[in-house]
C-alpha cells in the first residue's frame, strides 16, 4: 500500500499498515480474512480529561463532558440519527467512552465504504441545539442512575476514593447528575472544537478493506487542523486517602475490592508496559486460580468464583485490585496482605514463571481472534509508542528477576479496602389484574 508503513510479526502471523494522514489523523489498516469488516474512530478525549491546556490557555470541563459528546455525535443536522443511516447499509454501529478516550465504531459484511462515510461524517461535525442537549441530559441521567444501582460499580468507585487524592478517575466517566447539569451546548461545542481535531483522532479498520481508499475518505471528511490539547500531569502521593470505605447496598453477600497502590509511571511507554507486565504476572502467580491463596481460601469458604485479581495502570491510576464477594472481607484483606508478605520472603520460582508466561501468552493471543476487540485496541494504541504486538513480546522476554523485583517493590501499607455490605431489602409483591 502506497505511503503506508508496515509492521509484521511472523510468529503471531499478523501484520498491519499505518500512516499519519495529511490532516494529522493516524490511520491503521489490519488486513484480515474475515467476513466482517470493522472501523473505529478513536478520539484521545475521555472521562479523565477535565482539565487541559491549548494555545497557552487553560480550560476546565464538567465531569462527564466526553461521554455527553459521545451521546450527541451520531445526531445529524436535521435532527435525525446516524443509527438509521447505518441501518440502511446494514452497519451495526455504537460508541463508548473510557477514562482515556471516546470511540465510535461499526461493523458490517457489505457496504463498508457507505458505512465508513456515515461514521466519518458523524464524527467530523457536531450538530446540537439547546433542546437536543436538554433531552439528552435526561437520558444520561437515567444511565448514571442505572450504574449507581449496580453495587459492583459502587464497590470499585469507592476503592478509587479510598486510594486516590487527586485522580480525575475519582469522578465517574459519565459524571454525576450534578455535573451533567452544568454541561450545555457551549461546553459541548468548545470541547468538540478543541478535542475533535484530526491530530487528536485515530482511525483503525480491520478486515478485507482497501486501506488507500480509507485514507482518501478520512482526508476528505477531516480538513480542519489544530493542535492537540495537553492534559496536566497530576502528582499523586503514594499514601492512600483512607484504609477502608464501607457502604450498604442490595447484595446477597458483601462485595469487596482491595487496592494496593503502585507508583504511576510518568510516561506511557514500553518501559512502563514492561513494569506493568511484571506486576501483572506477580499478581497472577500470587492470587491466580492455580495459587494456594485462592484454592485454600475458596476451600475455607472465604472466597468464591467471583474472585478477581488484576492490575490497573493508566494515566492517573496504578493499583493492584483484588475483588469479589465474601462474608468476611476484612479477613480476605488480611489474608491477601499476609500472602504478599510471605511471597516477598520466598519469591517466585522459574517453574512458576514459565507456567504463568504460557498462560499470559495464550490469553493475549485471544485478542487477535476478535475483530472488534483488535480494532479497538489498535485504534487506542495509535497514540502510544508501543502496540499490542510489543505487549505480547514483553511477556515472553520478561525475567524472573523482574517479577521478583516487582513483588518486592510493592508497598503494602498503601492499601485500602472497599466493602458493600448487605442491608435487608424489602421485597413485597403486589398483584392486580
Amino acid at each position: 500500500m502506497n505511503g503506508f508503513n508496515v509492521k509484521e510479526d511472523l510468529s503471531l502471523k499478523e501484520k498491519y499498515y499505518y500512516k499519519t494522514l495529511s490532516n494529522g489523523m493516524k490511520l491503521t489498516v489490519i488486513p484480515k480474512e474475515l467476513s466482517t469488516a470493522f472501523a473505529m474512530i478513536c478520539c484521545d478525549f475521555g472521562g479523565e480529561d477535565t482539565e487541559y491546556s491549548l494555545g497557552g490557555e487553560s480550560f476546565t470541563l464538567p465531569a462527564g463532558t466526553a461521554h455527553f459528546l459521545e451521546h450527541k455525535m451520531f445526531e445529524n443536522p436535521d435532527g435525525s440519527d446516524a443509527f438509521s443511516e447505518f441501518d440502511r447499509f446494514g452497519g451495526s454501529a455504537n460508541a463508548f467512552t473510557s477514562y482515556e478516550n471516546t470511540c465510535f465504531y461499526f461493523s458490517c459484511t457489505e457496504n463498508f465504504f457507505e458505512n465508513l462515510d456515515i461514521l466519518l461524517k458523524s464524527v467530523s461535525g457536531l450538530y446540537i441545539t439547546d433542546a437536543s442537549v436538554d433531552k439528552e441530559r435526561k437520558i444520561i441521567e437515567r444511565e448514571i442512575v442505572m450504574y449507581e444501582d449496580h453495587p459492583s460499580t459502587n464497590v470499585s468507585r469507592n476503592l478509587t476514593k479510598a486510594l486516590y487524592h487527586a485522580s480525575p478517575t475519582l469522578m465517574p466517566i459519565a459524571g454525576t447528575v450534578e455535573t451533567v447539569a452544568e454541561i450545555n451546548k457551549e461546553v459541548l461545542m468548545r470541547a468538540y472544537e478543541h478535542f475533535y481535531v484530526p491530530s487528536n483522532l485515530s482511525l483503525c479498520v480491520c478486515g478485507r478493506v482497501d486501506g488507500e481508499r480509507v485514507a482518501i475518505a478520512a482526508e476528505s471528511f477531516f480538513k480542519r487542523s489544530g493542535d492537540r490539547p495537553t492534559t496536566p500531569i497530576k502528582k499523586e502521593p503514594p499514601a492512600v486517602v483512607r484504609e477502608k470505605i464501607e457502604e450498604k447496598g442490595i447484595v446477597a453477600t458483601p462485595l469487596f475490592s482491595i487496592g494496593i497502590k503502585c507508583p504511576i509511571p510518568e510516561h506511557d511507554d514500553l518501559r512502563a508496559q514492561r513494569s506493568a507486565a511484571a506486576i501483572r504476572l506477580a499478581v497472577s502467580l500470587t492470587f491466580g486460580r492455580a495459587g494456594s491463596f485462592y484454592c485454600d481460601n475458596y476451600a475455607k469458604g472465604l472466597l468464591s468464583e467471583r474472585f478477581y485479581a488484576g492490575y490497573v495502570q493508566n494515566n492517573y491510576t496504578a493499583h493492584i485490585v483484588l475483588s469479589g464477594s465474601s462474608n468476611a472481607p476484612e479477613a480476605v484483606f488480611d489474608a491477601a496482605i499476609k500472602e504478599l508478605k510471605a511471597k516477598k520472603q520466598t519469591l517466585f520460582t522459574e517453574k512458576e514463571l514459565i507456567r504463568e508466561k504460557r498462560a499470559a501468552y495464550a490469553e493475549m493471543l485471544t485478542l487477535f481472534d476478535s475483530g472488534d476487540d483488535l480494532t479497538a485496541a489498535m485504534a487506542a494504541s495509535s497514540f502510544n509508542s508501543y502496540d499490542e504486538y510489543d505487549c505480547i513480546h514483553v511477556i515472553s522476554d520478561i525475567t524472573l528477576d523482574e517479577i521478583n523485583a516487582a513483588l518486592l517493590s510493592l508497598e503494602l501499607e498503601n492499601s485500602a479496602l472497599s466493602i458493600i455490605s448487605a442491608f435487608e431489602p424489602q421485597f413485597t409483591q403486589q398483584e392486580e389484574h
Partner: protein, 423 residues
Amino acid sequence: MQIYFSKIEEGVSLAAFKTDKFKSALMTVSFALQLDCETASGFSLLTNLLSLSTGDYPTMQSFSIIKDELYALGLDAYVQRRGEILLVTLEISSIADSFAFDNERVLFKATELLGGAIFKPCLENGIFPEANVESEKKCLIEEIESEIENKPAYAMKQARRILCAGEPFAADSAGETERVAALDGEALMYYYRKAINEAPVFITYVGEAEPQYLEECIKANLPFKKREHTIPKPIIHAPSASIKRVFEKMDIGQCIVILGFYNKMPENARDRAILSVYNEILGGSAASKLFMNVREKEGLCYYCSSYPSGRKNVLFVSCGVEPGNEEKAIESVYREINAMKNGDFSEQELENAKNSIIQSLNGQDDSLGSMTGYLLGQILFDDAVDNERAASLIKAVTKADVSAFAETVCPELEYILGEEAAQ
C-alpha cells in the same frame, strides 16, 4: 462455509467448523434435558462440581495448575437454556496447536482433560465428595442470591417466572436456593448419570483442527455410549384474557419495567424468520422503534429493547425509567406494539431490518462464540436451517407477514421493579 457433521455414536452428534481465522479453538459438549423447576438445581450444581476437579486432578489447585500449563486452558461447565431445553454444557477453550511451543498437541490434551471431567469425575465411595458438594452448594446459592445485584436481569427473570407460571419455561436454569440446599452427593449422582449416560449429546468445535484429527481426539477421550436422540418439545403458552400488573418493591434509583407478551408460536424456520424481522423493527437495534421513540424521541429511558424467543411463544420488552414515568413508558411501548400491528412501518424499515439480520448471519463465522451457537442449533433442532437458507427466508419476509405476526402479539404482564407503586 464448510461445516463438518458426524454421528460419533447413536445419539451423539458432532458439528465442526474448520477455519484458520482463529488462534484459539472452542469445543463444547452439551447434554440436552427437559428444563424443569424440580431438576434444574441438580443439573446446575452438577456443572459446578464437574468443572472443579477430576479423578486424576482431585484438588482445585492441581486441576488449575494442569490447565495453566496447557496454555491457560479454559475448562468450564455451565447450564444454558434453549426454549424449554436445558443444556448441561462443558466447554474447552484452548490455544490452537499451531501457536503452541514445541508442536504440542494441545487439542488432544485438552479433550483428554475434558474427558476426565466428564467420565472420571472426582468421587469418594462412588459419590461426589461431601466437602466439595457442600462448598459448591454454598457457592451456587450465593450466585443465585446475587442475581438481585443486576436489577434488569433480575427483573427479567421475575417477569418470565410470572408470565409462564406453571410452564417449564418459568424455571430458572441456575436453580433455586431451597432445592440446591437439599441436594447431597447421592442425589447428584442421579443427575450425573441422567446427563452423562442418558441425555443426547451435542458436540461442537470451531478451530483449525482437521476433521480426522478432531475425531481422533473425540474417539480417544470422549467415549460416549449410544443413547436415544430425544429432544424435549416446548409447551405452547396459552393466551390470557387479561393483563396482570405486578409491582415489586426494591430500594433502587431507577424503575425497571418489563412487559410480557403472548405471540403466535413460531412453528418452522419461516416463522422464525418473520419473528426475527418483527423484533428487529420493534426493539432489536439502535434503529428500532423502541430505541428511536421511547428513548430518543421521548427521552424516557436509557435503554428499551425487545427479547423474543425463537422456541417459545412469549416476548418481553425491558426498559429502565425514572420513578414516576412508568405509566408513560408502558403507554409508549404499547404505542409501538400497536404501530407494528397497524403496519405502521415503512418498506425501508423492513428492508433495513432484513439487511441487518442477513449481515449478522454472514458475519457469524468471525466469532468463535457465535459460530458455536450456530453449530449447536444445527444439530440440536431437527428443523434448523443453514445460514444460506435462513438468509433466503429473511429476504422473503413481506410487510404482510410481519403485520400478520404482529396481530398475534398481546400484552399479558406489566412488571415493575421500583421503590413505590405508581399511583
